[in-house]
C-alpha cells in the first residue's frame, strides 16, 4: 500500500489535524497495523454541512472502514446492528426495505431518513438498499435534520463517504463464499497522479442462491444477483479549488418476498407457497459533482447531481397458490439536485455560520398494472357482486367472460422543490448556542390514468357478453411550504459535551398511487351495476373518498432532546440521549376495509415517541468493545382507523428496543506466516415489534449472535464469519392482503469465508 498524501486544501488540513486529534482523544488506539484502520486514519472528513457529529448537539453513530468491515456491515440494513434506535429490516426486496428511527418510519412512499453518498442526497428511497463496497465512513445523525437537509429527514440523516483515491492508492480485491450458495467478488483500483489528480474504479458482484423455498415450485424464492460499479475522479487544481466527480451504477435482479401465510386463529404458519412469479429488478445511476472553493474567509461548496432509477417489481399479490391477482410496478425516475453551501472558513472562529440554497426536480413515470386472474375474478369480484344477486335470483349469476383482465394504471408525478437555509453557532465561553432555520417549498402534481375493460353479462337476461369500459383519469396537484427551525445549546467540558436541542422535522406529502386499483375496482362495480340497472346497498362503495384518497399531506414533528458526548478516558467514549418527539398529521399506511387490493397513506394520526439511547465504545491496540442500546416508547395519541380508537397503542413496525454488544480482540502474532489474529462476536437484539395498529400481533424481543475470526498476513487477510449462530426464528415483516395475514421470516444461520487483498 502506498499511503496517500493529505489533501492540499487548507480546510482539510485543519480539519484533519483537529479531527485526528479528537479521534485520538476519543476512540482510536494509538497505533494499529490494520490496512483498513490506516485508511481511516489518513483523513477524517466531515460532511459539507456538519462537523464532527460526535461533538455536535446531535445523537449520532459513526463507523469507519475498519469497523464496518470488521462488523460485516455491507448495507444500510447491516448498519442497524450497530446503531441504536435505527432499524432497517428486510421486507422482502431491496425496494421495500423501510427504515425506522426512534419509533417512526414508513412502509411506503416518503422515508424518515435521508441518505447522502459523498454529499449527494439520494432522492428515491427505492435506491437506499444497496451493497456497500469501499465505504470509508458512515455517520448516522438521529433526530430531525430538516434545517440543513430538508425533506424526509425527520428521523435523521445517514452520510456515507466512499474511499477517496486522493487518500489511498492501490488495488483492493475480495472474494467471499457463504451459505445459500452465495458468493461476492469485489475489485477496485485507486490511483493518484501527482498532487492534484486521482481516480478510482471499483466494481462488485454478489450472488445469493436464496435461503427460503417456495414449496409451490420447490425453488428458492429469495435468490439475488447484484452488481455495481463506481468511478471517482478527484481534481485539486490549486490549494483553493477541488473538484470531485463520482458516477455509480447499480443493478439488482432478485426474487425475494419470502412471505408465508399465517393463520391468526390457530397461530400457525403455513409454508411459503405462491404460484405467480415474484421479482425485483433495479437499475440505478447516480452522478455527483462536488466543487469546492475556499478563500481566506469563506468556503463554498456546490453539489450537483443527476440520478436515474429504473425498477420493476413483479408480485403475486395474494401470495397463495391460487391465481387471484398479480402486480407489475415499473418506475422510471429522473432527478436533478443542486445544493450550494457557504460557510465561514475558520473552524476556530467564535461565530460559525452556514448558508445554503437547495433545489431539486424529479419526474417519476410509473406504471402499475394489476392483473386479475380467474380465482381473483371469482373471489374478489363475482362473489361480492353475486352475493346479493343470488338473494333475488338464486339460479342466475353475473358472469365475466374472460379468465383474466388488467386494471392498468399509469402515473406521471413531477416534484419540484427549493429551499434556503441558515445555521449559526456562537461560542460563549463553554457554551455554544446554535440556531437555524430553513424555508422549504415543494410543488408536486400527478397525472393519472387508470382504466380497464372486461366482458360481462347477467345470464338471466343477457345472451351475449357486453364489454364494460371503466376509466378514472385526471390530475391532482399540491404544494407545501415548511419552516424548519432548530435551536440548541451545548456546554463543553474538559472531556465532553452536554447539549439540549429542539428541532422540527418534516416528511413531504404525496400521492397514493397504490390505491388506484382499488378505486377502479369500485368504479367498475358501479359502472357494471349501473349498466345493468341494478343497485345494491354497499356494493361499489368505498370506505374512503376517492378524490381525497389520492393525496396525503406532509407529516410534521417536533423533537426535544438532551444528550451528552463524553470521553472520560483514552479510548473510551460514551454518548447518551433522551428524546421526546411529537408528531402531527402522521402518515399511516391504511388498508381499506374488506377484500380490497390497495393500500394508501393517510394523515390519520398524532403520535409521540419517548426514548433514550446509550452508546459506549472502548478501543485500545488489541481490544474493541462497543455497546449500544436504544429504547423507544412510541404511541398513537390520536388515531381512529375507522374500526376503533387506537390512541395509546404502540406504533407498529418499529422496535421498542435495539441493542448491540460487540467485542473483538486482536493478537499480534508477528510470525513469518501470520501477522495477527482477530476474534470478534456480536449480540444484536431487536424488539418487541407490534405488527398492527390494534397491537394484537407482535414479535417479542430476540437476539442474534454473530462471530468472526480473521487472519492477516501482509496484504492478505482471511476471515470466517457466522451469523444468527443460534438459528433464531424471527419475523421481520407482517402485512395483510385480501384479509389474509402474512409474515416474512428472518434469515437462518449462515456462514461465510472471505479473502481480502489490499496491495
Amino acid at each position: 500500500m502506498r499511503a496517500g498524501a493529505l489533501s492540499p486544501i487548507p480546510y482539510f488540513c485543519r480539519m484533519k489535524t483537529l479531527l485526528a486529534a479528537l479521534a485520538l482523544l476519543s476512540d482510536a488506539p494509538a497505533e494499529h497495523p490494520d490496512t483498513l484502520y490506516s485508511i481511516e486514519q489518513v483523513e477524517i472528513t466531515a460532511s459539507l454541512k456538519s462537523g464532527d457529529p460526535s461533538r455536535l448537539p446531535i445523537a449520532s453513530t459513526e463507523a469507519g472502514m475498519y469497523r464496518l468491515e470488521r462488523e460485516g456491515v455491507e448495507s444500510i440494513k447491516d448498519f442497524s446492528a450497530i446503531a441504536p434506535n435505527f432499524y432497517q429490516p428486510s421486507y422482502g426486496s431491496r425496494m421495500t426495505s423501510s427504515i425506522y428511527v426512534r419509533g417512526f418510519g414508513s412502509r411506503i412512499d416518503q422515508p424518515v431518513v435521508g441518505v447522502n453518498v459523498d454529499d449527494v442526497p439520494y432522492m428515491n428511497k427505492n435506491a437506499y438498499d444497496f451493497d456497500f463496497y469501499d465505504i470509508r465512513r458512515i455517520e448516522l445523525l438521529r433526530g430531525p435534520q430538516g434545517t440543513l437537509y430538508g425533506r424526509n429527514t425527520s428521523g435523521g440523516v445517514m452520510n456515507i463517504s466512499t474511499l477517496s483515491p486522493m487518500v489511498w492508492q492501490g488495488a483492493r480485491l475480495s472474494a467471499e463464499y457463504s451459505s445459500a450458495e452465495s458468493y461476492a467478488l469485489r475489485a477496485a483500483w485507486y490511483d493518484r497522479r501527482g498532487d492534484s489528480f486521482g481516480y478510482s474504479l471499483a466494481a462488485s458482484f454478489a450472488h445469493c442462491g436464496g435461503f427460503f423455498t417456495n414449496v409451490f415450485n420447490d425453488e428458492k424464492c429469495d435468490r439475488s444477483d447484484n452488481a455495481g460499479a463506481r468511478l471517482r475522479l478527484q481534481w485539486h487544481p490549486s490549494l483553493r479549488w477541488r473538484v470531485d466527480a463520482t458516477t455509480s451504477v447499480g443493478y439488482t435482479d432478485e426474487g425475494g418476498y419470502a412471505y408465508r401465510l399465517y393463520d391468526e386463529h390457530s397461530g400457525t404458519y403455513h409454508p411459503i407457497a405462491y404460484n405467480d412469479p415474484c421479482a425485483y429488478r433495479r437499475l440505478s445511476l447516480c452522478q455527483g459533482l462536488v466543487v469546492g472553493y475556499e478563500s481566506d474567509k469563506v468556503r463554498l461548496s456546490s453539489v450537483t447531481s443527476y440520478q436515474f432509477l429504473d425498477d420493476r417489481m413483479t408480485l403475486d399479490q395474494d401470495f397463495t397458490p391460487r391465481s387471484l391477482f398479480t402486480l407489475v410496478q415499473s418506475q422510471r425516475e429522473h432527478a436533478v439536485t443542486q445544493d450550494i453551501v457557504v460557510r465561514n472558513a475558520d473552524p476556530e472562529a467564535r461565530w460559525q455560520w452556514l448558508c445554503g440554497a437547495f433545489a431539486f426536480g424529479k419526474r417519476l413515470d410509473m406504471s402499475s398494472p394489476v392483473t386479475f386472474k380467474r380465482d381473483g375474478i371469482d373471489d374478489l369480484i363475482l362473489d361480492n357482486a353475486n352475493k346479493h344477486i343470488h338473494d333475488q335470483f338464486p339460479d342466475n349469476d353475473i358472469e365475466i367472460g374472460t379468465d383474466s383482465f388488467v386494471i392498468a394504471s399509469d402515473f406521471r408525478i413531477p416534484v419540484y422543490g427549493a429551499a434556503l437555509y441558515h445555521e449559526s453557532s456562537v461560542r460563549l465561553g463553554r457554551w455554544t448556542l446554535t440556531a437555524g432555520l430553513r424555508f422549504d417549498y415543494e410543488y408536486t402534481s400527478m397525472k393519472y390514468d387508470s382504466r380497464s375493460e372486461l366482458p360481462y353479462r347477467f345470464n338471466l337476461t343477457m345472451p351475449e357478453f357486453k364489454m364494460l369500459h371503466t376509466r378514472f383519469a385526471g390530475s391532482e396537484r399540491q404544494s407545501f411550504f415548511e419552516l424548519l427551525p432548530k435551536l440548541s445549546a451545548t456546554y463543553s467540558m474538559r472531556r465532553g459535551e452536554v447539549y439540549a436541542t429542539v428541532t422540527r422535522g418534516y416528511k413531504a406529502g404525496g400521492f397514493n398511487t397504490q390505491i388506484f386499483s382499488d378505486i377502479l375496482q369500485s368504479k367498475m362495480m358501479i359502472d357494471m351495476m349501473t349498466s345493468l340497472g341494478v343497485y345494491i346497498d354497499g356494493v361499489g362503495t368505498t370506505s374512503y373518498d376517492s378524490a381525497a384518497a389520492t393525496r396525503y399531506k406532509p407529516e410534521r414533528s417536533w423533537n426535544f432532546e438532551i444528550g451528552a458526548h463524553l470521553r472520560p478516558a483514552a479510548g473510551l467514549s460514551l454518548s447518551a440521549a433522551a428524546f421526546l418527539i411529537e408528531c402531527t398529521d402522521q402518515q399511516v399506511t391504511v388498508l381499506p376495509d374488506g377484500n380490497n387490493t390497495g393500500r394508501m397513506m393517510s394523515n390519520a394520526g398524532r403520535a409521540r415517541s419517548l426514548g433514550a439511547e446509550l452508546s459506549v465504545r472502548y478501543d485500545n491496540r488489541n481490544l474493541s468493545v462497543a455497546a449500544d442500546w436504544g429504547f423507544t416508547d412510541a404511541r398513537f395519541t390520536e388515531y381512529d382507523d375507522g374500526q376503533a380508537d387506537r390512541a395509546g397503542n404502540v406504533l407498529p413496525y418499529a422496535p421498542r428496543n435495539t441493542a448491540s454488544l460487540s467485542a473483538s480482540y486482536t493478537w499480534h502474532v508477528g510470525a513469518s506466516w501470520l501477522d495477527r489474529i482477530t476474534l470478534g462476536a456480536r449480540l444484536h437484539g431487536v424488539g418487541e415489534i407490534y405488527w398492527n395498529e390494534e397491537n394484537t400481533l407482535r414479535q417479542p424481543f430476540y437476539t442474534l449472535l454473530s462471530a468472526h475470526v480473521g487472519l492477516q498476513k501482509g496484504a492478505f487477510s482471511l476471515s470466517v464469519w457466522g451469523r444468527n449462530l443460534t438459528d433464531r426464528d424471527y419475523d421481520t415483516f407482517y402485512f395483510k392482503s385480501v384479509s389474509r395475514s402474512f409474515f416474512s421470516k428472518g434469515r437462518p444461520i449462515s456462514f461465510g469465508i472471505k479473502l481480502n487483498v489490499n496491495i
Binding site: H388, D391, F458, L460, T461, L532, G533, V534, Y535, I536
Partner: protein, 152 residues
C-alpha cells in the same frame, strides 16, 4: 308570472299530447320527455302493500305511437335485496282530451341488461297528464300501482 307559467304548461302539454294517437289528429309531434316522482305500491298478495317513495319514472314517445316507460330503482318487496331499473317498452297510448291513456298486455320488460320474462307486464292501465302519471299493472306476480307528479 303565474299566468305565464300556466300558459307555458299548457303549451308543453299540447306538444306532448300531440304525438299520441289522437282521436282527431294523427300527426305525431315529439314531446319533451318528462320525469315524474311518486309512490310505487306493490300488493304483496298477503293483504299487505309495500310502498316505495320517491320512485322516478320517465317516458319516451316512439314513432310507432307507443311509449317506453322507464322506472328507476324500483323495489317490489321489502326483502328484495336489489333495486332495479326497469323499462316497459311498447305501451300503447291514446290521447283523450288533455290526457294520454296508456294500456298494455303481456309486455316483457327490460331489466338487468335484457328481457325479463319473470316480470311480464299484464293489465297495464294508466293516464298521463302534464302534471301527473297514474299506472296500474301486474308485474309478474305483483299487482302494483304508481302515482307520480311531474318533477320540476
Amino acid at each position: 308570472m303565474k299566468l305565464f307559467k300556466s300558459l307555458l304548461l299548457v303549451a308543453c302539454a299540447a306538444l306532448s299530447f300531440a304525438a299520441c294517437d289522437k282521436d282527431d289528429d294523427k300527426t305525431p309531434v315529439n314531446p319533451t320527455p318528462k320525469e315524474y316522482v311518486g309512490e310505487l305500491s306493490v300488493d304483496q298478495t298477503d293483504g299487505t302493500f309495500f310502498k316505495q317513495q320517491g320512485v322516478s319514472v320517465r317516458y319516451d314517445l316512439k314513432d310507432d305511437r307507443t311509449v317506453d316507460i322507464y322506472m328507476y330503482r324500483v323495489q317490489f318487496a321489502e326483502a328484495m335485496p336489489v333495486k332495479l331499473d326497469m323499462t316497459i317498452p311498447g305501451v300503447e297510448c291514446k290521447s283523450v282530451g288533455e290526457r294520454i291513456e296508456l294500456s298494455g298486455e303481456r309486455i316483457i320488460p327490460l331489466a338487468m341488461g335484457g328481457e325479463f320474462p319473470r316480470y311480464t307486464i299484464t293489465s297495464l292501465r294508466g293516464t298521463l297528464t302534464d302534471s301527473e302519471l297514474q299506472l296500474s299493472m301486474n308485474c309478474g306476480e305483483f299487482p302494483l300501482t304508481y302515482s307520480g307528479t311531474a318533477s320540476e
